[in-house]
């Protein structure tokens, strides 16, 4: 077990530097036009003046502005309190799959998206951490390197993250194929949501998982010790399968909608930056702007 595992890790680590570069590039193409928080908060830069209200500390009155008129004004700075984003890639066996050599592994695509998102977030001044990693969220490029190194190590089995205690109002990004049963996902989402955590789910699927392009008599075997099943003619059950997949997605969508979370889908045969843009959009709260950018 040791040697193949280490071999896989080495193979993965060998692939990561270009992934990192690719993530940087993808982040650089997107970050233009997205500025600041545009919110009042504690920060260094000016945001707005507002009339003094009762209860405000007198020290916050901006006297120069107040002297220009008859009312007292309080200078407000832009909120610059950084957000902590916890990221979780599904590193179970079912992610290590692809239907064709021309496609990336699902786990590879998930890691790429995750690192790219991290790069974006770090450039945006956010603190990022891997869910399940004992280290607290941190800033800077070193975090990216550390995350890449962590991703290079073999992950644990299991398609659902454990509900670890997170700070309230943290942001959580879960990247997985989300093929686990809904009733195993629901407690997780409910548990996180109960702590006021906002989550974003990105479902990464292989195109074959979406279309089920196989034909004839096929014995399907799972990757995570599921029982195998023999389908005499795959083409006859394709519609049923797609209906089940749609039901799974609908269930996920409705579940996330219930808690105000977002849910997006990505296929590994599509370019990664579409998913990244969509994710960026929902996380930055400027979906239209980002979509326009993506369209361009």
């Amino acid at each position: 077990m040791n040697i193949p595992t280490r071999h896989e890790a080495e193979a993965l680590a060998g692939r990561l530097p270009p992934l990192l570069v690719a993530a940087e590039r993808v982040a650089a193409t997107v970050v233009q036009g997205v500025h600041g928080r545009r919110r009042v908060g504690s920060g260094d830069s000016f945001w707005q003046f507002r009339p003094y209200a009762a209860g405000d500390s007198a020290t916050r009155i901006d006297w120069r502005q107040t002297a220009k008129s008859e009312r007292a004004y309080i200078r407000e700075n832009e909120w610059e309190a950084a957000q902590s984003v916890w990221l979780w890639p599904d590193r179970s066996a079912s992610m290590e799959w692809r239907s064709s050599r021309q496609l990336p592994l699902k786990s590879g695509r998930a890691a790429l998206l995750l690192l790219a998102l991290s790069a974006l977030l770090i450039r945006g001044g956010e603190r990022v951490a891997l869910l399940g990693d004992p280290r607290p969220p941190a800033l800077g490029r070193a975090v990216l390197e550390r995350m890449a190194a962590t991703l290079a190590r073999p992950g644990r089995a299991g398609g659902v993250p454990e509900t670890v205690p997170l700070p309230r109002h943290a942001t959580l990004v879960l990247i997985s194929d989300f093929l686990a049963p809904l009733d195993t996902l629901q407690p997780m989402i409910t548990g996180f949501a109960a702590r006021g955590i906002r989550g974003h789910l990105l479902q990464v699927l292989d195109p074959a998982e979406e279309t089920l392009p196989f034909e004839g008599r096929v014995r399907f075997e799972g990757l995570e010790q599921e029982p195998s099943t023999l389908i005499s003619r795959v083409e006859t059950i394709r519609d049923q399968y797609q209906a089940r997949l749609a039901a799974q997605r609908d269930g996920l969508a409705s579940l996330t909608r219930t808690y105000g979370w977002s849910f997006a889908c990505h296929r590994t045969d599509h370019p990664p930056h579409t998913a990244l843009l969509a994710l960026f959009g929902v996380m930055s709260g400027l979906p239209q702007q980002v979509r326009a950018l993506a369209g361009a």
């Binding site: 799959w97 686990a180 699927l205 008599r217 096929v218 399907f220 799972g222 990757l223 029982p227 049923q240």
Partner: protein, 914 residues
């Protein structure tokens, strides 16, 4: 064995395996192929899904068909199908082999022999005895028919040759009477397919009483054909080709071949579809026609397809009755000279008294002006003409004066008629065009032929009909009369140029040619019995007659039937022989037609038995391999590159199985080798040569000397020599070398007669030999004093050595390149002997030069180019002089006396100066 025409199964009961094919169909239908195995992450979504329709996965139809084909191939292969199966031997007792070994069997004799041998081998395997019955009469009386062991029968069959005469099936049938019927016998008739007046049918009926008959005959277009002399009356060489089967056939090529086997002419005969006989004509000049010895059907070697051509149709012997020997002192005045010259190219000429001539074959007898002889001769000639001879007489002074000569076609007026000449006003008469019925019709009359004198015929009623050629004034020039089978012809002018210049013209040759063709040739009355000279074997090859061949009376030859005692061939002697052809004893060719239904008909040429089992098994294996690949493909175990690789491997396997190893042939290296090697080496460059003495040391010194001298020559002169060559006078040709150095040793043996002859020839044709006695240093001294002289004389016994003199001071050798007066070698002081200059043979170059100074040692150099021997008394000046002598010698041998002419140069220059 299950036989279906040319196809059979060796183990037909295995074909019952085909009943499992439907079961296999059903099994393959209901047994789905092994499923593809796929790992799939979203399997949870698939669990519990049931296809809406309950059609079980079926093996694809094409795969079922392929597998059924595989099974069918296996079953077929196990049943061992055979193409052209060798049928088993019918019956269980002895086999009767009736073998047609007449001339017609030679067409495909090897195939016949092969078929018979094959049958005997099969009989051997089954332990059957054989009875052989050849149908052609043999040379010896046949013994009783008896059972033979297969090995003996095989030996007999292999020794059997087709006879050049026809079969005698009636006699063969008689021999069958001695054979008693045994149950279980089987009969094989190896036939030539030709009927002979019903005898074949009778024999077949008789054979059927013994047991089942297999009748083996060539197909209709493979039957023998027959060449016969053409019945038509053609002036060209014509033959008729007969065949047994009518119908369209490719044209037949005929060859006219000379006695030496040379192809003289070729003709084609094309059978009309409804004719069994066709004539072919060789359009060849008479000269060539006379050399035709035989006519053959190309590609068919039988005695029937060979027609021997004998003197009757070929030679046209022409006799010239003359008493005088030919080649008399004044041939141009002779009567016969012009006839001989004109008839020589196309006729065989004989001279002699008329009575002697007509005893032999003769087609034409020419009687120049003169007496035909007395009453006895007249009677003999008359009867000769009656029996077909052609007598041509020429007029002349004697004829003009004779009376009561009955050997003339017309009555002559006494005395000649002078048309032109000095005393006449008349012009010499010219020839009128030939009448249409004349044998000369069609010949062109040249303008310059004139007739000065002629004899005139008495006018008569039939004179015009007898006249074959006229002068312009209507008087007859040539008259002819048919007497009996022959002709009597008179030319009304002389055979020489005395009366006419006709005999000088080309027309004379043409007229003679026509006259010769008129004669049919009459068998000589002198030869009573013709002994066989050369007879044909079954394949139409002429060979010495067999012992059983017997002479034939000349008169009966035409009626003689070819048989063991009279095989077809030439009868007579080398000079005069007549042909007995097979065609005279074969009335016609008729195919053996329809056979009774119980007779199995086969042909000789049979495709060999082909066992299809290996091919079928191979195909089944290939299908199995494809099936495996398909199975892997259906299970998804085969990705595209792998499939391509496997297919490639399979293709390679198949192609390598079919490929045959090719061995490259080495082109022979064009190096000079063999008998010409010496010649080419000797002549490719100018080479100095020395005679091999047999003494190794001497030979080595000689070789080194030639190398050294060659170096000096190429350095100082325009002469460039190649490597020196060693000449063994006993074996090697010397003629290629301008100069040969010949050291004399004590050990040399005297020359053999051939070697002496060779040396003589060499000297006579311009060669020069430097003899070196090498004894100056050993106290010998001059030639003629010591025992060296004796040795030289012994050695050169038989060689014509010219008289020699001491070299004169003005000899060319003293100035041919360097000016020098003495000629040292290793030693100094010896005298050089040369031929005296007065002998102007060989361009004044002395053929023999004799010295004693051991020149070779002075010239010899070692491998580094240093001199090998010190010179005595010594000094480089002496060696230089020695080399200079060598240069002078070579120049002398190459340029001859050129330098001798230089003495005149001052005088010439002086004259030019003026």
């Amino acid at each position: 064995m299950l036989s279906l025409g040319s196809f059979a199964f060796a183990s037909p009961w295995l074909l019952l395996g085909f009943v499992v094919i439907p079961a296999l169909w059903w099994l393959l239908r209901v047994t789905p192929p092994a499923p593809k195995v796929l790992h799939f992450p979203a399997i949870r979504l698939l669990l519990g899904l049931v296809p809406p329709e309950e059609t079980p996965a079926r093996t694809p139809l094409w795969l079922i068909l392929m597998r059924m084909a595989l099974a069918a191939l296996l079953i077929l292969a196990l049943a061992q199908p055979l193409i052209n199966p060798t049928a088993g031997l019918p019956g269980n007792n002895s086999l009767l082999l009736v073998i047609d070994d007449g001339w017609a069997a030679a067409v495909d004799w090897p195939a016949r022999q092969h078929a018979m041998t094959e049958l005997v081998e099969r009989a051997d395997r089954e332990g059957r005895r054989l009875i052989l019955l050849p149908t052609a009469p043999g040379e010896a009386a046949p013994g009783p028919l008896g059972l033979e062991r297969p090995a003996d029968a095989k030996a007999q069959i292999q020794a059997m040759r087709p006879k050049p005469w026809p079969t005698d099936r009636a006699a063969a049938q008689k021999r069958l009477d001695t054979l008693e019927f045994q149950p279980g016998m089987a009969v094989y008739w190896f036939s030539d397919g030709l009927d002979d007046k019903g005898a074949a049918k009778a024999l077949l009926t008789r054979l059927r009483s013994f047991g089942p008959v297999r009748f083996i005959a060539p197909p209709g277009d493979g039957l023998a054909r027959l060449l016969a002399p053409s019945k038509g009356d053609s002036r060209d060489l014509a033959v008729s080709v007969q065949r047994a089967v009518l119908g369209e056939a490719p044209p037949i090529s005929l060859r006219a071949v000379g006695a030496d086997g040379r192809l003289l002419a070729r003709a084609e005969a094309h059978f009309p579809a409804d004719r069994g006989t066709v004539d072919a004509t060789f359009k060849i000049p008479t000269e060539l026609r006379n050399r035709v010895d035989r006519i053959e059907i190309e590609g068919e070697a039988t005695s029937g397809a060979t027609l021997l051509v004998d003197e009757r149709s070929r030679r046209r012997p022409v006799g010239i009755a003359t008493e005088a020997a030919s080649g008399s002192g004044q041939p141009l005045l002779s009567d016969t000279y012009y006839i001989e010259r004109a008839a020589e190219p196309f006729a065989e000429l004989r001279r002699g008294p008329a009575l002697e001539l007509i005893k032999r074959d003769l087609s034409l007898l020419v009687l120049p002006d003169g007496d035909a002889g007395g009453a006895e001769e007249h009677a003999a000639l008359r009867s000769w003409i009656e029996s077909g001879g052609v007598l041509v007489r020429f007029a002349g002074p004697q004829t003009a004066e004779r009376e009561n000569d009955d050997l003339l076609p017309v009555t002559l007026r006494s005395g000649g008629r002078t048309i032109g000449g000095a005393m006449s006003w008349e012009k010499p008469a010219k020839l009128a065009p030939f009448p249409a019925e004349s044998p000369f019709a069609g010949l062109e009359v040249p303008d310059d032929v004139t007739v000065d004198r002629q004899v005139l015929a008495e006018p008569s009623v039939d004179l015009a009909a007898k006249t074959w050629a006229r002068l312009t004034d209507g008087t007859p020039l040539v008259t002819g009369e048919k007497r009996g089978k022959g002709w009597l012809v008179l030319v009304h002018t002389s055979a020489n140029t005395a009366w006419s210049n006709l005999s000088l013209s080309g027309l004379f040759v043409d007229m003679l040619r026509r006259l010769v063709q008129l004669g049919q040739g009459i068998a000589g009355t002198g030869d009573g019995v013709l002994a066989p000279w050369q007879t044909m074997d079954g394949f139409g090859r002429l060979e010495a007659p067999p012992p059983a061949a017997q002479p034939v009376p000349a008169a009966d030859l035409a009626k003689t039937a070819a048989g063991p005692s009279h095989p077809p061939g030439f009868y007579g002697t080398d000079e005069t022989h007549r042909a007995l052809n097979l065609s005279s004893s074969v009335p016609g060719l008729i195919e053996i037609g329809a056979l009774p239904p119980d007779v199995v008909r086969e042909t000789y040429v049979r495709a060999p038995e082909i066992d299809l089992r290996p091919a079928l098994l191979g195909l089944a294996l290939l299908l199995a391999l494809i099936d495996i690949l398909v199975g892997y493909g259906l299970r998804g175990l085969l990705r595209a590159p792998g499939a391509a690789g496997a297919a490639l491997l399979l293709g390679l396997m198949l192609s390598s199985a079919g490929a045959s190893a090719q061995t490259g042939t080495l082109t022979p290296h064009p190096a000079v080798s063999g008998p010409d090697r010496y010649t080419i080496e000797a002549t490719s460059e100018l080479r100095l040569a020395y005679v091999k003495t047999g003494d190794a040391e001497t030979d080595q010194v000689s070789r080194a000397a030639m190398v050294g001298l060659g170096n000096i020559l190429s350095r100082r002169t325009a002469v460039e020599t190649g490597d020196p060559m060693e000449v063994d006078v006993e074996t090697d040709e010397m003629i290629f070398f301008p100069l040969i150095y010949w050291p004399i040793t004590t050990t040399e043996k005297p020359l053999s007669a051939q070697a002496a002859e060779r040396v003589n020839r060499y000297l006579a044709t311009g060669g020069t030999i430097l003899f070196d006695t090498r004894d100056e240093g050993s106290g010998g001294g001059s030639y003629g004093i010591t025992d060296t002289a004796d040795r030289l004389q012994t050695l050169l016994a038989g060689v014509t050595v010219p008289p020699l003199v001491q070299i004169p001071p003005d000899h060319v050798l003293t100035k041919s390149f360097y000016l020098m007066q003495d000629f040292p070698g290793r030693w100094d002081g010896g005298t050089l002997w040369v031929e005296p200059v007065e002998d102007r043979v060989n361009d004044g170059v002395s053929t023999v030069i004799l010295g004693s100074n051991d020149f070779a040692s002075a010239w010899a150099v070692d491998a580094q180019g240093f001199s090998s021997f010190a010179v005595v008394p010594g000094g480089e000046a002496q060696r230089e002089q020695a080399y200079r002598f060598g240069v002078n010698l070579v120049m002398y041998a190459l340029t001859g006396n050129y330098k001798a002419d230089q003495v005149h140069v001052p005088a010439i220059l002086e004259r030019l100066g003026q």
